[in-house]
């Protein structure tokens, strides 16, 4: 089959918050940009599994990319999120110290923060900490208050970046893994995906934990990405009130430690731990890891009830070795191949600033950037029924009855929102895609109620057979196929109809003696086993 041929000035590989951020930044200019993503949707990589904090920037080593872009990114958040209709709350954050030694550490962080340009850092005494966070561990001695800290929704941001980029002319190719690149005379000339070849002037490598594999495609091997896994607990909104802002422990050398933080949707998140893993697909949670998270979280908030957990997940940090810092800049020897790699934490915070930095590097490398007069920086926040007052809700239902049909019982998401999510600038075809856009399935029942209903709407709206609807693309199908005729069920039912006595005991004559024996035996095992333990 002849591959489709596209032409671009810049190809961006990877549609996480970094790649989409770069795409949206370049959309301001008169350049042809193609954003390619191997998964079925944007934000399906590390961007969907992190702590969602907008860090203040006091812990990165002064002078590093991390330090600079964290503080710059943080300062861009209010404007970016306002333009793009993305949830963001400037809650401030606290690093909580439990000993005098740890208080000394707070002073060091404060000094580092001052060099990095973090505004308003202050070490506050125990009483003040307990006033603003009454559920914090009462053993607290003092805390570092960072007023510029905050929380956001990482996937909302990446989706909004992508939608705004596409609205301003960027082409987005989903389900398009980059499988190779052509290098001529020391420069990348084209990017190859299955069925598509894109001739391009520049390439931006924003492939997250796969960025080293991508760089190898242009014959370079400057860094290695070693994935470091972090596991999480997400808690029910019922306990969302336990903390009002992110709480950090005093950090260790390698991580910021296990955090307890509110989410923009009103839940509570706890995590991450940190464990190097060999496999870039290893997003498994483990019993030991989850225990570590709960223990760490309880050190900060002792009253955290594990039974209010609604889900667990894990994310992979893209740690670049040997750099340790973000790897941003042209690959040595391939001047039109720009890395935005090794973007571990605080990559989400830094994303808007990484986009600016990559833009400047591209300009330095010779990309001509003429501003487009018609660039529209605004992307409207999709309407959410649950965020409206009763009068606004009424008005919407009057216009379109689908606003009156609740699909997700936990988050009160309506059919209108799901339908709308399926027809936006960035196509959404999966259950997870719907979840990230509308919150249908993100609540306490985790899609048990809305799952079948969303499958049905995707089937109806996009003309996809139900057994082809997936959770997250690829082979993640939900249903294996139609069931047999229900006639079969009815006949079988009749054959098996047992007489059951009034007291609910199965009539063993009908069951057959062998079966009756088997059940008796198992039950005896059961009763006996327990008796040894308890009675």
């Amino acid at each position: 089959m002849q591959a489709r041929r596209l032409a671009a000035d810049v190809v961006i590989i990877g549609a996480g918050v970094v790649g989409t951020g770069v795409a949206r930044e370049l959309a301001r200019y008169d350049v042809r940009v193609v954003l390619v993503e191997k998964r079925a949707d944007v934000a399906f990589g590390t961007t969907k599994a992190n702590t969602a904090l907008v860090h203040a920037g006091y812990d990165a080593e002064p002078g590093t990319w991390k330090a600079r872009l964290n503080v710059r990114g943080n300062s861009l958040y209010p404007k970016v999120c306002a333009e793009l209709g993305v949830a963001y709350k400037n809650t401030g954050s606290l690093v909580v110290a439990f000993s005098e030694a740890q208080v000394l550490h707070l002073q060091e962080l404060k000094a580092k923060g001052r060099i990095n340009g973090v505004p308003g850092l202050e070490v506050i005494p125990r009483e003040r900490v307990l006033t603003i966070e009454p559920d914090v561990n009462p053993d607290v001695v003092a805390a570092l208050w960072a007023p510029s800290g905050g929380i956001t929704s990482p996937w909302e941001l990446a989706i909004a970046f992508a939608e705004n980029a596409v609205a301003n002319g960027v082409e987005l190719l989903l389900s398009s893994p980059v499988i190779g690149m052509d290098v001529r005379g020391g420069r990348v000339s084209s990017v190859r995906c299955p069925g598509v070849v894109i001739d391009t002037g520049f390439v931006v490598n924003a492939a997250g934990i796969w960025a080293d594999d991508i760089e190898r495609m242009v014959g370079r091997d400057d860094f290695e990405i070693t994935p470091r896994r972090g596991e999480y607990y997400l808690f029910d909104k019922r306990v969302g009130h336990l903390v009002s802002r992110p709480l950090f422990p005093v950090p260790s050398r390698s991580t910021k430690g296990i955090v307890v933080a509110p989410t923009v949707d009103g839940n509570l998140i706890a995590g991450p731990n940190a464990l190097l893993v060999g496999d870039k697909g290893d997003l498994a949670t483990t019993a030991a890891g989850l225990a570590e998270v709960i223990e760490g979280a309880r050190r900060l908030v002792p009253g955290l009830p594990a039974r209010e957990s609604i889900t667990n997940f894990a994310g992979l940090r893209a740690v670049a070795v040997p750099a340790g810092d973000f790897v941003i800049g042209a690959s040595p020897g391939v001047p039109n191949f720009i890395n935005a790699a090794g973007i571990q934490s605080p990559g989400l915070t830094a994303a808007p600033a990484i986009a600016e930095a990559v833009r400047d590097i591209l300009a330095d490398a010779g990309l001509e950037l003429a501003e487009k007069p018609d660039f529209n920086p605004v992307r409207e926040r999709p309407t959410r029924f649950a965020e409206l007052c009763r009068d606004e809700q009424s008005a919407l239902i009057e216009k379109n009855p689908l606003w009156g049909h609740i699909i997700c019982r936990c988050e009160n998401v309506t059919e209108a929102e799901v339908v709308e999510a399926l027809h936006r600038a960035v196509p959404c075809t999966t259950l997870d895609g719907v979840k990230f856009r509308t919150r249908a399935g993100a609540g306490r029942c985790q899609g048990g109620f809305c799952g079948p209903r969303v499958v049905d709407i995707i089937h109806r709206e996009l003309g996809v057979a139900p057994e082809q609807v997936t959770k997250k693309g690829g082979r993640s199908y939900i249903l294996s196929g139609p069931s047999k005729d229900s006639l079969l069920e009815q006949t079988a039912c009749r054959c098996l109809a047992h007489a059951i006595r009034d007291d609910g005991q199965a009539d063993t004559e009908d069951v057959g003696t062998e079966d009756a024996c088997r059940i008796e035996m198992r039950e005896r095992e059961g009763v006996g086993g327990h008796a040894h333990g308890g009675v």
């Binding site: 997003l283 009160n412 198992r522």
Partner: protein
Amino acid sequence: MRTVECDVAVVGAGPAGLAAAARAKRCGAGRVVLMDRDRELGGILNQCIHNGFGLQLLSQELTGPEYAEHFINEARDAGVETMLDTMVLEVTRSRQIVAVNRTEGLIQANAKAIILAMGARERNRGGVIIPGMRPAGVFTAGAAQRFVNMEGYMPGKRIVVLGSGDIGLIMARRLTWEGAKVEAVLEILPFPSGLTRNIVQCLNDQGIPLYLSHTVVDIHGEERVEGVTVARVDSDLRPIPGTEWDIECDTLLLSVGLIPENELTRDVGGELDPVTGGPVVTDEMETSTPGIFACGNVVHIHDLVDNVTREAWTAGEGAARLAARQQPGGETIRTRAGDGVRYVAPHLLHLDNLVARDVRLFMRATRPAERVQVEAVVGGKVVFSKFERVVRPAEMVVLTIPPGKVSPGKASPDHAGGGSHPELVVRITPRDRDTAVEGGRKA
């Protein structure tokens, strides 16, 4: 916003809501409105197309939808108004309901009494914390049941079921009949949590192995489930290292318990029972918020629909009495779960009712036991008891106290012994084998 004025508004049209609404109407309530968010009346019964409903109450073995039909007809005949595809968003202490549907938009109902009958939702993976990957193919058994029975689709071909709850057992059989291979049912407890008849009919008859004291410790597969690791657990329910083995499968069904759907109840702010997760209720099925009643799975999880209906009748009668301002007043006595009992409902009994009528107590045993007395104790004295050949945590125990067993005098504080609050303690005690007479009663 359209407003609806009524005597009784019922939230949820499963067997609980249907029976409560019909009974309230029959007992003289004026306008009775029944709302459900689903497209049909009948609640969870609509997806339970297996037999086994109504044996006690209707003396027939019906399927879920047939049982529902009986009570749908009763509600219709009684003159209950129904509103389907209608989600109740809010219930207030002052007995207002805000609901929404496609045709009428937002609706406000002002009622003299409200009956909460929202049923239960299934505990899911996050609730039981199963480590591993997060692929497609992990379902709660009820969600799978809806796919198969109502939408006509299969969740997978090779299936492992975690939990021996009734829905899981019934789905194991159903999926086997549909041509899927059910590899195993795993239960973390040393005894099954579903009804015995379901273990027999759904597993043994189908040749599906049941592993007691086992659980899933890992889930494999990036996109779709490819297998699970299972392990035996010790007496503290912790996996025993070295006992793990892998089962290849494409689907994991979870049947690990139901949780009363009490979001609205919480909004109202009434007292909840920490064991059941449902509201604390009186023998009228009134919650601690005056005028707000509750019945069915929203109060505590029932295994037999017949008991749901009975409880709902009580709620319907109570609500009608309240609407007519004929509620019993006077003293109440608190119930408490004693030895061998995990919980008991209702939580508060009116002495007037104890004198005048049968009062039914629902309870769950903490552990399986044979040949026991189920006793109601007031002030240190057994006021009523009955013999049970077997009790199991999976099967609700019902103790119906006849009128007059607890008289106001007996329940007065000095007789109650401990403290000033009179209480009625229920306990399940082993029966002395030597003196036992089958079916006999200790007076």
